[in-house]
Amino acid sequence: MSAAPQKARAGAERIDVTVSAVVPVNDLVTRFEFTRADGRPFPPFSPGAHTVVEMQDGGRTRLNPYSLMSDPSDPTTYAISVRRDDAGRGGSLFMHRNVKPGDAMTLSYPVNLFPLDRRARKHVFIAGGIGITPFLAMIAHLEHLGGAWELHYASRNRALGSYVEDLTAKYPHKVHAIFDEDGEAIALEDLLDGQPLGTHVYVCGPAGMIKWVHDTATAHGWPAENVHSEEFLAPQPGKPFEVRLCKSDIVIQVGENESLLEAMERCGVDAPFLCRGGACGQCETEVVEADGTFDHRDHWLEEDDHASGKKIMPCVSRFIGETLVLDR
């Protein structure tokens, strides 16, 4: 065993905060700003980091990851921007409807799964919609350092382009705003062409956009190491199923609208997690026995891991079948 102190609970350490501002950005997006309840400075974070917001929604605890969009050099405030998803699982609706200035909430310590590569000569950011949020922190950070960057930001239209006015006003020569409804599209091939050696590209947006950027960059001879992406998956609903957790020695039911991880937590099992979106790998769990079909939805496991039936990421993946026994 390591000498490191054992954490009392799974996930990153938590911070008690007070909601200091709730600012509507447009029809879909609202910004939430937080200060620390104990008045101390927030822990520093590196741009690209996210925090897991704990929401007490009636009897249900919701834990949703959101990218920190505030300036990393400001230790007094953490800010996130939340896009309302009317068809989602309810976390974003809870934030929009229930969270008011002065409310007490709990955030996790920041975790960064989408860091800047400090070796880059230049950073090219490609954002789709609410995928702009990590880049706001990255841009603030690079502006302090004098780093080279450019942003290509696609949104539906000007009114729904969160922060697009601020960005184009402040950095008119670095920000390229693209509006889908005007028939515009990111000229990806052109913008990849001619970038100086040592450029890194970062993409945050819908899954199709992320794949498009990875595939196009590869075809243009970009090393995989120079292309970075982040996509949080929301756990999708599915048919209820039963799981036996052999270490905890209990049988639990996973409901239609909860994830396997959430079902474990509801039953008092302290399962590890960080991102809750299939990206970080923290919740990886060994399968002891399975008779049925896995519905793997994560970005973490390799394809052969998925095929092996020996591992599952309970934050997003599900199971259809008779028997599932996990080593948890």
């Binding site: 001619g194 970038q195 001879g221 120079n226």
Partner: protein, 202 residues
């Protein structure tokens, strides 16, 4: 063929592959001596590859053996240099003018590949994206860990540091930054007790 199968060693020791064409906007091939054979083989695998390629070749001891064959590949640019030191200015210039989408292929001796790799890394290419293929001599570029002087083309173990004169043991411990293996004093505790030098991999 001028290939040599290096025995498995510690993790620090570089391993080399076989050059293969990759999609790219431009290609830079740097080779010395028998490394020319790897370039000739690579050129035959990618139609249209050489038209976007800059070849930098240092014949070393092979003289004119490969120069005409390499020239016949009709690469976009072809340069031969007498030594690596004479060619490095050109390598730096090519890298500083290059854009993303450049593919780098290195072939020949470990010293050439290591030094050219360090230049490419300094220019912003991740080392894992640089292809290498060893050909020809197994001579090593060694750094004396005591005086820090570099001795090129070391063929025996132990050897004498060209700078400080210590008797150095040839280690597989490698520095990507220096493009050199470590040479460590072999008779520090018992000066003069130096094993008979043996040729590397003999």
């Amino acid at each position: 063929m001028s290939t040599f199968q290096f025995p498995p060693s510690i993790r620090s020791r570089p391993v080399y592959g076989t050059l293969a064409p990759r999609p790219g906007k431009a290609h830079l091939m740097i080779a010395d001596a028998e490394g020319a054979e790897a370039i000739l083989s690579l050129a035959g695998q990618g139609p249209g590859l050489m038209a976007k390629t800059h070849v930098i070749y240092i014949p070393k001891g092979t003289g004119e053996t490969y120069v005409d064959q390499l020239r016949a590949l009709k690469s976009a640019q072809f340069y031969t240099g007498p030594t690596y030191a004479a060619s490095v200015q050109r390598i730096r210039r090519v890298l500083s003018d290059a854009h993303m989408g450049l593919q780098v292929y290195l072939a020949g001796t470990e010293g050439l590949m290591g030094q050219a790799e360090a230049e490419a890394i300094a220019a912003g290419i991740p080392h894992s994206a640089i292809q290498t293929e060893h050909r020809g001599s197994v001579a090593r570029r060694m750094q004396c860990v005591h005086c820090k002087g570099i001795t090129e083309d070391v063929m025996t173990d132990p050897f004498t540091c060209a700078h400080c004169g210590l008797n150095l043991f040839v280690r597989d411990h490698y520095s990507r930054r220096l493009a050199a293996f470590q040479g460590v004093c072999v008779d520090a505790e018992d000066p003069g007790n130096v094993p008979e030098p043996r040729e590397l991999y003999s």
